[in-house]
């Protein structure tokens, strides 16, 4: 069984002379590749993957991989505008192979209400945004701090 997931990460990235807030609401496919071998493959953002002995470790490695990509982009560009453009491009380059598998997994989840994860609730796809927002931090404020949303199973 592959699990279609929604997830989100909130972070602030330091670039060359700027700080950017990155609020990402994404989707990916959690796949059991073998015994004690789970992988989360990104659909949006595409081209990110993380693996581990269980789903939690795979998710944690996925998150770390995502962050290293943001760090690489920040290191590579010379302006906030370039950073924003590259991050948006990265997020919007859908992994079309895993998207097809994600959609098929959503259908299975919808057909079988017993399919669930003990660490993620079911969430209808039509009411869940998939997007990224990159904003320049002009004035730092604790009001901008935000927890990552809980992981959800797309249904």
């Amino acid at each position: 069984m592959n699990y279609p997931l929604f997830f989100g990460f909130r972070t602030a990235i330091q670039g060359k002379g700027f700080v950017a807030s990155v609020v990402m609401n994404g989707r990916g496919l959690m796949v059991e590749e073998g015994a004690d071998d789970w992988w989360l493959y990104g659909v949006n953002p595409g081209g990110v993957a993380g693996g581990g002995e269980d789903q939690h470790l795979a998710f944690s490695e996925f998150r770390n991989s995502y962050y290293t990509i943001l760090f690489d982009i920040a290191n590579d560009v010379t302006s906030y505008e370039e950073f924003r453009a590259e991050v948006e491009r990265f997020f919007n380059e859908t992994n079309r192979h895993y998207e097809k598998e994600w959609l098929a997994a959503v259908e299975k989840v919808r057909e079988d209400k017993s399919i669930k994860l003990d660490w993620a609730q079911r969430q209808p796809t039509d009411s869940t945004p998939v997007n990224i927002r990159v904003e320049l931090v002009q004035v730092a404020s604790p009001g901008a701090n935000e927890l990552d949303p809980k992981v959800q199973v797309a249904a």
């Binding site: 590749e33 073998g34 015994a35 004690d36 071998d37 992988w39 493959y41 595409g46 081209g47 990110v48 993957a49 693996g51 991989s65 290293t68 990509i69 760090f71 690489d72 982009i73 290191n75 590579d76 491009r89 990265f90 380059e93 992994n95 079309r96 192979h97 895993y98």
Partner: protein, 82 residues
């Protein structure tokens, strides 16, 4: 074999030579950025430091192949671990 199996980085470049002709790569601080077919994969690990043979988890290689939309059978014929 599970995706905890690994693939040598040199073998990955060779696979790309044959299955993604004209690909480009750029070493970044944390990962290789690989581009082909108008698409980009930013999540290929550098594979560690020093002179030891650089090994990449199979799941990362699968992700690379799928993200760049490389013919999977071509990739699998060169990297039998996939």
């Amino acid at each position: 074999m599970t995706t905890r199996g690994t693939v040598g980085l040199a073998a990955i470049w060779k696979m790309l030579d044959e299955c993604a002709p004209g690909y480009e790569k750029k070493q970044q601080k944390h990962n290789w950025r690989v581009m082909w077919n108008g698409r980009t994969c930013r999540d290929l690990p550098l594979g560690g430091h020093g002179k030891r043979k650089k090994e990449i988890q199979r799941g990362k290689v699968k992700n690379l192949v799928r993200q760049l939309e490389i013919d999977f059978e071509c990739a699998k014929s060169k990297l039998t671990q996939l």
